[in-house]
Symmetry: C2
Subunit: 491 residues, 2 copies
């Protein structure tokens, strides 16, 4: 088995951990809960960033940068927000170290350099940004304000997993200000749409669009929109959220604008974000027992060319052709690696790039040169075929789209198979145990929601946006319900 | 005068501050020493990032991401490094806040959540990165390791100025590992070359290449290469540094590799970085008493089109043409803004984009429509001319290069005028007082260097790399010197 990778069916969790580390995506650092994103993993993040950034700009947003630190008193201003975020955070209390007088070569905190007010390393930036917006917004002419930030954030986590839950992670956070409630809601929904498009077109990951229950809402939001994806082990993963914040932050930070009619009112807000967690989703959605499987749209290397040779002369012959193929593919916008390293066998390279999820592998040796062909292999289906060199470029270009679509369709089919509707609590428990999305009626109370979570560990992932109204009875309380909601075990 | 901007000749420092804030580049935040980089300023940073990132990748580097926090004990490991960086830094001592029992709605630090070991918000990442490299490097096959990181860093500064010196700033930091001393030195010099190219070709800023004196070296480096630029007030600004770190960090973190011959040795290192300070350099190098002047290569808006009209019909007529021009310019890769906002007069818009440094302004009104012409104005020379619409695109494309070159040549001429050679301490003092780069002989001791600094506030900016050997006598001590070094007052 590839790099001693456990099978998904045997130990999904360990399978995931090992893919992430052995495919060189990331590793745990020496700093508790923080990860190192290695070059191969970071290259995926760069592709995600480029695609998302373009989508944000195409929808009228601009980037800016706000401070890493949030003064403690700012967090206190929005009560729900403080409740949700102040609890587990990195607190800066001092601004200097000094040499330990009793132990030369060691450093200690300089007690004289205590901050008057503690600074929190941002767990999210609503507080610092709305404090800034106060100075930027006076009139309806200043609205809408459509700003995004690419940044690192810190939330102190006790149990961490690479990409899925880390103390520090990278993300983007959009923070917008609007003149009307309607416009802010439209913005929240628009950005949920952007996230949906990104997940489906780039990660090849079908997602459910919905809103969170009051209980699961972002601290300080009136409505939290989310996209929820299903992983291969039947657990759900929240892949992105977009919050309608109402006037909560505008009130907390006193941000008012004068309308066209000269009336003074608080501004309406949204915020929305996705994180490096998406790399975890990408890994878990498509990879298999042989390692990583990457959708072409986000693969740092989309095609690898491996030369097969025994003599230096053969290598020379093959290399010339390989470099020509590389050039031709690159001209079509495909990123190609030609691996002619001389310390690894072709077999080793085959296994390596398979493990690293490179969508397409091209092998070329002396016999191929005679036949004007190459061997072309697909990572996702693990099929291979002999292809004539003169149609190779066209073929590979086509495969990029074919693999991308195929991964999406496979994930969609899996989600379909793994989605069930139940009407009784007994059936619910069985369905949850099997994994997948479970559509069931719920009476709308946090009490019931928490009780179900307590008893089954399942949470309401979302109240789906596209669900048909359907009256029924809550699986737990039997009280009336107007729509099914989606339950699942979740990451 | 534009937006009540002080003249450079009257108050250079205030002139700079006001340009940065009034051109919407950045502002001070409510967090002491930290700035908010506003969308217009951040757009310049994005252009800088894109250009530099490409140059790094073209020279074989890849990006990765390392933790924000550095455990205190890691900083202690490299003595010089600890000495240089541990002193003024943000220290995280706790990981939780709690509600104040005596004051509901307020948060206090939870004393029970004290970290066993304090974490330092990275002032630079050598320590955390070399601790990680230890796990990545075993053999010469793992070398060279050529990694760059885009990140935020924090150095507690008492006196801050937007872009030039802030507690938090954005930067890139390259960290490379090599098998030989020679290779590491070549890398340090190569990256200095990349910075030089970037400064000269993109910022249109001529720079001196040199090495720092021992006294001014990066904490932990054996050699610090730097580029030094001259601002319009005659003060020098360090625009980028590249450090040859020897085996210091490899020894501190025990990073060894086995050579081809099977010998075990410590790895050789470099690190190199440029920061958002470059935006400050950009502002100070080219701007004038009417506001910002941006080199086309880094201007977020390269050309602005302003419609001149009285009636709605005129606006419609003019807009159609303006949008066609915009499209044609964009097809040539030029970023264009068509400002048809109806709440500002053309005069206001002229002043606004002039202040914001947009390189080229195109004004078009009904009379222009009749004549098949537009009014074309250059920001740098403040000249304008009537240009036929059918040659406009070609003309603007040409202007992009012409303005870029002209800004560079103007800065180069200014540097030439402001560079002097002196042989006596009396002449040195006079020259330093006038401002500019002063080439003088120095005996090579830190003692002399510090004494000169004490008496004149001038520092040795660099020992220039391209200087001819020339024997002489130190201006202060009279001791022999083999080469002139460059003194200046500096930011």
């Amino acid at each position: 088995m590839a790099k001693d990778l456990p099978k998904r069916s045997e130990n999904y969790s360990e399978w995931y951990n090992q893919i992430v580390t052995k495919a060189d995506l990331a590793e745990h650092s020496s700093v508790r809960g923080c990860m190192v994103i290695k070059p191969y993993g970071y290259a995926i993040w760069e592709k995600m960033q480029a695609a998302l950034d373009k989508m944000f700009k195409d929808t009228g947003h601009v980037n800016a940068y706000f401070p890493l630190f949030v003064p403690k008193s700012f967090l206190e201003k929005e009560e729900g927000h403080a409740e949700g975020f102040a609890k587990e955070c990195a607190v800066v209390t001092h601004y200097r170290l000094k040499t330990d007088p009793d132990n030369k070569g060691k450093l200690i905190v300089d007690k004289d350099a205590k901050l008057e007010e503690e600074l929190i390393v941002r767990p999210t930036s609503e507080a610092i940004i709305w404090n800034t917006y106060k100075g930027w917004i006076q009139s309806y002419r200043d609205l809408p304000l459509l700003i995004n930030q690419w940044a690192n954030v810190v939330r102190w986590e006790m149990r961490t997993r690479l990409f899925l839950r880390t103390t520090e992670f990278l993300w983007q956070e959009g923070h917008t200000a609007h003149a009307t409630k309607e416009e802010a809601i439209i913005e929240s929904e628009k950005m949920l749409g952007v996230y949906t498009d990104f997940a489906e077109k780039f990660i090849a990951l079908p997602v459910l669009k919905g809103v969170k229950t009051a209980h699961e809402r972002f601290a300080g939001a009136l409505e939290t929109y989310c996209i929820e994806a299903l992983m291969q082990d039947g657990k759900a993963l929240q892949a992105g959220t977009s919050h309608f914040l109402g006037q909560n932050f505008a009130k907390a930070f006193d941000v008012k604008f004068s309308s066209k009619e000269g009336k003074l009112d608080h501004v309406w807000a949204t915020s929305w974000g996705v994180t490096t967690r998406l790399i975890g989703a990408l890994v878990m959605a498509h990879s298999d027992d042989e390692g990583l499987v990457l959708p072409p749209m986000l693969a740092p290397i989309q095609a690898v060319i491996i030369p097969i040779y025994k003599t230096e002369d053969e290598l020379k012959l093959v290399s010339e052709k390989a470099l020509q193929i590389k050039k031709d593919l690159e001209a079509k916008g495909i990123s190609v690696k030609f691996d002619n390293s001389d310390n690894r066998s072709p077999g080793w390279k085959f296994a390596e790039y398979e493990f690293k999820g490179v969508p397409v592998r091209i092998a070329i040796g002396p016999r191929d040169m005679q036949n004007g062909s190459v061997e072309l292999a697909r990572r996702d289906t693990k099929t291979k075929e002999v292809v004539k060199q003169d149609v190779l470029v066209e073929k590979v270009v086509g495969l990029m789209k074919e693999i991308q679509d195929s991964l999406f369709n496979k994930a969609l089919a899996f989600r379909k198979e793994s989605t069930h509707s139940v009407d009784t609590y007994a059936d619910f428990k069985k369905a949850i145990e099997k994994g997948g999305f479970v559509y069931a009626h719920w009476d709308g109370t946090s009490e019931t929601e928490e009780k179900i979570k307590e008893e089954t560990k399942a949470t309401i992932r979302c109240i789906p946006l596209d669900a048909k109204p359907e009256s029924g009875k809550c699986i737990l309380s039997g009280k009336p319900s107007a729509q099914r909601v989606v339950f699942a075990m979740a990451y």
